[in-house]
């Protein structure tokens, strides 16, 4: 069963799971500050992503993961050129220091640390069509999961420290004029709640995600967005992971989500799908399915 930096699944020791995800996200309404509007000179803004992901079990309780997406953007109206390129490499370390029976179920606790950095010199100051914000991010996450039978719930909170960025122009206006090409990028925090069904073969869950930028400014009236805008979003979605019966170690993932509320972001509808395969590098015969938090 494949796992990510945001879920309560661990890879077993010496197992390497990797795969490819495709993602598609579109919006035609966005929040200009708190004002929801569309823009006939953008139409529908869409982002496509193809990502290679891998994760390796250093031990049953310590996993390391990475992912690298290729992203392309497009506006269905207006004249602006889309952007495309390799975006940011993300590396995560996931540690499960605690997994114990509690009442009728199992409680497990996680500490997760992540670092991401841009791998190409893509342009950040071209929103809404830039493929990313070009920051280096350092993330720290605390997560707790509780499973009873085949039902589970996971909650997590994350702090994201972001580096400043350098843009091409030598001054810019936020709420005052800055005579520099350096942009002070605010840090961010997020929290997430997921709940649903989990078994060896199937996970079906609902996910609520909230991202909050700790600082930044609002897009002014009829202005274009800027990397250091105060970007917030609350998203609701579903996610399904299915382990294929016929081929051992193969799993399929699919999901979708929708931005319920936001600030200085698009009200995006997104879906994604992926295929993952686990390689077992242990010498003796061992289960190639990862440990999960049931029983």
């Amino acid at each position: 069963m494949a796992q990510t930096d945001a879920d309560a699944i661990m890879m077993a020791k010496n197992n390497y799971c990797s795969g490819i995800m495709y993602g598609n996200s579109q919006w035609d309404h966005y929040w200009e500050g708190t004002l929801k509007r569309n823009n006939l000179n953008l139409g529908t803004v869409s982002t496509q992503m193809v990502s290679y992901m891998g994760n390796y079990g250093l031990s049953d309780k310590l996993n390391v993961m990475f992912s690298l997406p290729y992203i392309s953007t497009n506006a269905s109206a207006g004249t602006l050129h889309g952007q495309q390129g390799l975006q940011d490499l993300s590396v995560w370390v996931k540690w499960m220091p605690y997994e114990k029976k509690l009442g009728k179920g199992t409680l497990s606790l996680y500490g997760i640390g992540g670092y991401s950095l841009p791998v190409s010199n893509y342009i950040a100051d071209f929103l809404p069509l830039s493929i990313g914000l070009h920051t280096q991010n350092l993330s720290l996450r605390a997560m707790a999961d509780y499973q009873v039978g085949n039902l589970f719930a996971t909650v997590s909170g994350t702090y994201v420290a972001r580096s400043n960025i350098t843009i091409d122009r030598t001054s810019y206006y936020t709420t005052s004029l800055h005579l520099t090409n350096q942009v002070d990028m605010p840090n961010a925090s997020s929290y997430s709640v997921r709940a649903g069904y989990r078994s060896d073969r199937l996970i079906a869950e609902a996910i609520f995600d909230s991202w909050i930028t700790n600082g930044g400014f609002d897009i002014t009236r009829n202005n274009m967005p800027f990397p250091s805008n105060r970007m917030n979003s609350s998203t609701l979605g579903v996610n399904i992971k299915y382990t294929v019966n016929a081929i051992k170690g193969l799993s399929l993932i699919g999901g979708g989500n929708y931005v319920l509320a936001g600030r200085n972001v698009g009200q995006a509808t997104a879906y994604d799908g992926g295929i993952f395969y686990i390689l077992d590098f242990t010498h003796k015969q061992k289960k190639s399915t990862p440990t999960s938090n049931k029983k």
Partner: protein, 507 residues
Amino acid sequence: MAIALAVLQFSCAKSISGRTDNLAPLSPAKTDTGAGSWQTILLAGPTDFPVAAPLPVNNPLYVAELNEIKGFQKNLSSDDQAKIKYWGAGGVLRWNEIMRELVAKYNLPPYQNTDGTYPFPSSANPFAYPLFPFANPPYAARAYAYVSAAQYDALVAAWYYKKLYNRPAPYAVDSSISAKLPKTTLPSYPSEDAVLAGVTVEMMKLLFPDEIAYIQQKAEEEEESRIKAGVAVRSDIVAGEVLGRQVADKFIARARTDKAGAAAGTQTDWTGFVTTTTARGETPWVSLETPARPPMLPLFGNVTPFLFPATTTATLRPGPPPSTSSTQMKTETDEVYSYIKNPTRDQMRIVQFWADGVATYTPPGHWDAIAAEDFITQNFSEVRWARNMALLNMSLMDAAIVCWNTKYFYFNPRPTQMNPSIKTLTGIPNFPSYISGHSTFSGAAATILGYIIPARASAYSAMAAEASLSRLYGGIHYRSDCAIGLTTGQAVGNYAITRAKADGADN
């Protein structure tokens, strides 16, 4: 532990400083004591507005003003020191930065009405949306020019009276007064900073009415900082501010008759451009915005220039662009497409560096920034700073006039209108293509700046060439727009050089 250190590194790296945050105080190489005889722009001469003789330094009322300084200097806060330092870098410099900030703040195109028409800012009701003004490039060029020209004329008058009355600075009168800024032999009455403050806040009545309150605060901050710094007494300030406001009012009177107020045109005008262009057998310009927006300030080409009479504008207008049905037009359109098909990162960098589009200080502001940061190294006196900024900004305003005159005389389409598959790396401005505003502004600016600082002349030329080309790389101009824009701008810049050679500042 490593994580904590990394988080710390991210947090500490956060503080960003601006290029002009920590400047040494202005310490001019020459005081330009003879500047009272320099040629003024609008004033007939430096004595158009009388400035009364100041009280002599032994008069008890003057001595009391020294006590005001001493009172302040007993406990200057760190905020006081910061403001002394900020304004001490130069009044002309700081006001230009403030002007650039106002332009950026107001440079937002109005959002459409529900029926698809567009509202226009109203100077009679400036606080209603859309806020007055929409500080687009022609508006900005004119705003920078009027403020710079008025500051210059007012400082020429100030220098005349400084020399006439020859009242020394307070620290030269009373040694117990501490000079917090470099000492100078320049007489302090009337105060040049108060003159600048008075000019600029008065000009806001015309240019940025919503900001009069804010600029009044900045003006008072500048004036107070000079008293606290021990370089001016209250009567230096009062006389200077009155002089500045009077000079500004003369420029405001000119502005109300310079035809800029009618530059937006009417539906009759906008339809007229289409009719005239079609009658010539050419494809007329069409707005590429949705909903279609009326063209930007189509009658700005009729505005009265500073450097030459309005009748000269048409003589500076270049010949026509390639016909929209010609092979050359097809070739040039194909060339634009070739640049945006697979743009390199460096091409995108050049486009973004010079774009100066919505919510920025506009291309004239960019050239002001280039000039100001170079002028800092030249140690000009405030009156010479003002003279040089006025030459630059009058060139830029007159370049805008000739450029807009040309754009609407030919009314030709943007590349994307000729070939809709041309996607752009910056927004397409809502006005005709030939000639490129960036190229015209840059040609004019590089020409006059190359005269003011000859050692930088080839650097300015190279910058102008890159600024011009950036519009081709961005997919929003043909090569003809750029090349002819540059030479047209150079012709405008030459008028500024002619003026500069004769104005007395280089004697």
